[in-house]
């Protein structure tokens, strides 16, 4: 395939086909824009709307139906969806380079770009967290939807954030025995959130749905993991504490996550202004979801973790604005959802004890096997990269970067292209584009 043929122009290019990206693309395409949507995954929906790829899996139907509606609306709008594609560089204004199927380099030009890259889980290092069977909570949920059976398995769900409850309920539905749900936030910290949910019908309904699924599940508020325990190399349990006592829970799997980190890397590469958060960075936007970069919008979790309803509203606002349509009728609701996100941040703020879970020999950077002791000896992120290769592996610091921010308070390093590992031939075709077409 000749590289020069692979240039596509979009009025509106949306990166990410989760709820925010789908809403943005649909709104813009409905109003006549030529819209292309890029997504890394094999199917649209993002993480919260990740569908089962295995026919035999049973799924709760309620969240799926909103997903199906959103995808049907996208297709009806005339927008074009490209799955298994990732943006890896932004070589010039209004140009991005894209890796398709981990293999082919493609180029897109755009009038307006909408960043809808979602969020990832915050993973914190504790002894044993690299054992097979210790997974991200959302990660385990995704793998179950991708055909991994947890039927009969004993699962401990530990960490913080609203995702833990959703994951525990989903695992229970999938036949797992959730032997523990440990939320590091204390019960008293949760009360304002619970009160605010009583006033919001959809969130209350969802909360009650999960509560019904989790009846009989041992729930411990104000407890957190201190160690995943192996027996002859195989995960056998998790040790938890509330600061004064410690218990060991036998289990086959540990699902862990400490709320979410915005995937802000693409926006940062594009030159958008960001604000520091306790775990990473978020993209600054105005009430129309415009970033500080002309022609670039940002929607959903990269602007600050606020959940599904915020993502849908922000997406629609950006899509309408990109198409030159009014969106002010949505701004009040979007502001309310933003406030809900800030309440989540307060509720699930990490306790200090979580900064000191790692032992000297605990791996901090999983890609490069840099230990806590090695990384701790460095003055900051740049020195750690140079001295220990922490953050230099293929994840490019997406897992250990937020961890070092929490554990050591380090500033995250700035991003550089390529945003993801790219095969040499795809880079070469991207460079030839550059010479021929710019």
């Amino acid at each position: 395939m000749s590289a020069a043929n692979d240039i596509t122009h979009a009025d509106v290019l949306v990166v990410g086909a989760g709820p925010a990206g789908l809403a943005a693309a649909t709104a813009a395409a409905r109003h006549g824009c030529d819209v292309h949507v890029l997504d890394d995954n094999l199917a649209p929906g993002g993480q919260i709307w990740r569908a089962s790829s295995v026919a035999a899996n049973t799924q709760s139907t309620q969240p799926m139906s909103s997903r199906e509606k959103a995808i049907a609306a996208l297709h009806a709008s005339g927008a074009t969806l490209h799955c298994a594609t990732r943006v890896f560089a932004a070589p010039a204004n209004n140009v991005v380079d894209v890796l398709e199927q981990d293999e082919h380099g493609l180029r897109y030009t755009y009038r307006t770009l909408i960043v809808a890259t979602g969020a990832r889980e915050l993973m914190l290092p504790f002894p044993g967290w690299t054992l097979p069977g210790v997974l991200g909570a959302g990660g385990l949920q995704a793998l179950v939807r991708a055909g991994y059976s947890v039927a009969g398995k004993r699962v401990a769900v530990v960490g913080t954030g609203p995702l833990l409850i959703a994951v525990a309920a989903h695992l229970q539905e999938a036949g797992a025995r959730v032997v523990l749900l440990a939320e590091q936030a204390g019960l008293r910290t949760m009360l304002p959130l619970a009160a605010s949910m009583l006033l919001r019908f959809t969130k209350l309904r969802q909360g009650l749905h999960y509560a019904a699924r989790l009846r009989g599940t041992p729930v411990r508020m104000g407890w957190w993991p201190v160690e995943a325990i192996a027996d002859r190399g195989v995960l056998a349990g998790v040790r938890i504490t509330n600061g004064s006592e410690t218990r060991t829970i036998d289990c086959d799997l540990v699902a862990t996550g400490f709320h979410l980190v915005p995937n802000s890397e693409l926006a940062e590469l594009l030159g958008c202004a960001l604000a520091a958060t306790p775990v990473g960075r978020r993209v600054l936007v105005d009430t129309y979801q415009r970033t500080t970069r002309a022609d670039v919008f940002c929607v959903g979790e990269p602007t600050g973790i606020a959940g599904l309803d915020a993502a849908l509203l922000q997406g629609e606002i950006a899509g309408l604005t990109a198409a030159g349509q009014p969106s002010t009728h949505l701004h009040a609701r979007a502001a309310a959802e933003r406030a809900f996100g800030k309440m989540l941040d307060r509720t699930f703020r990490l306790r200090k004890a979580l900064r000191t879970l790692a032992a000297e020999d605990t791996i901090l950077c999983r890609c490069e096997d840099a230990s806590f002791a090695q990384v701790k000896a460095c003055a900051g992120w740049t020195e750690a990269k140079l001295q220990t290769r922490c953050g230099m592996g293929p994840c490019q610091g997406r897992i250990c970067g937020p961890a070092t921010r929490v554990v050591f308070g380090w500033e995250p390093a700035s991003v550089r292209p390529p945003l993801v590992p790219v095969p040499l031939h795809a880079l070469i075709s991207s460079t030839s584009h550059h010479e021929e077409n710019l």
């Binding site: 997974l135 055909g147 890609c367």
Partner: protein, 87 residues
């Protein structure tokens, strides 16, 4: 489990040379977990398996049909696919 499944709903793959059947639509990472096969060995030689499940952490990278560093959570099993633990 796979034995009870009609053939059309199954794919046959090889995990470190061992033939295994999994449901069609199963990701390679899920197949590796189902059969307790590590995705890779780390720099210091410890076994690793999937972590984030969404293509970000690269813990699930393995060798697929001879190509190293494939993110197995973002790839579905296909008939006759050969998956090896990445060392």
């Amino acid at each position: 489990m796979p034995e009870a499944m009609p053939e059309a709903q199954c794919v046959q793959i090889y995990l470190n040379g061992m033939p295994r059947q999994v449901a069609r639509g199963t990701s390679v990472a899920a197949a590796l977990l189902l059969h307790a096969v590590p995705c890779r060995e780390s720099v210091k030689g410890t076994p690793r398996a999937a972590l984030c499940g969404m293509g970000i952490c690269f813990e699930c990278r393995a060798v697929i049909n001879g190509v190293a560093h494939r993110r197995t959570c973002q790839i579905n099993c296909l008939d006759e696919m050969r998956v090896e633990t990445q060392r």
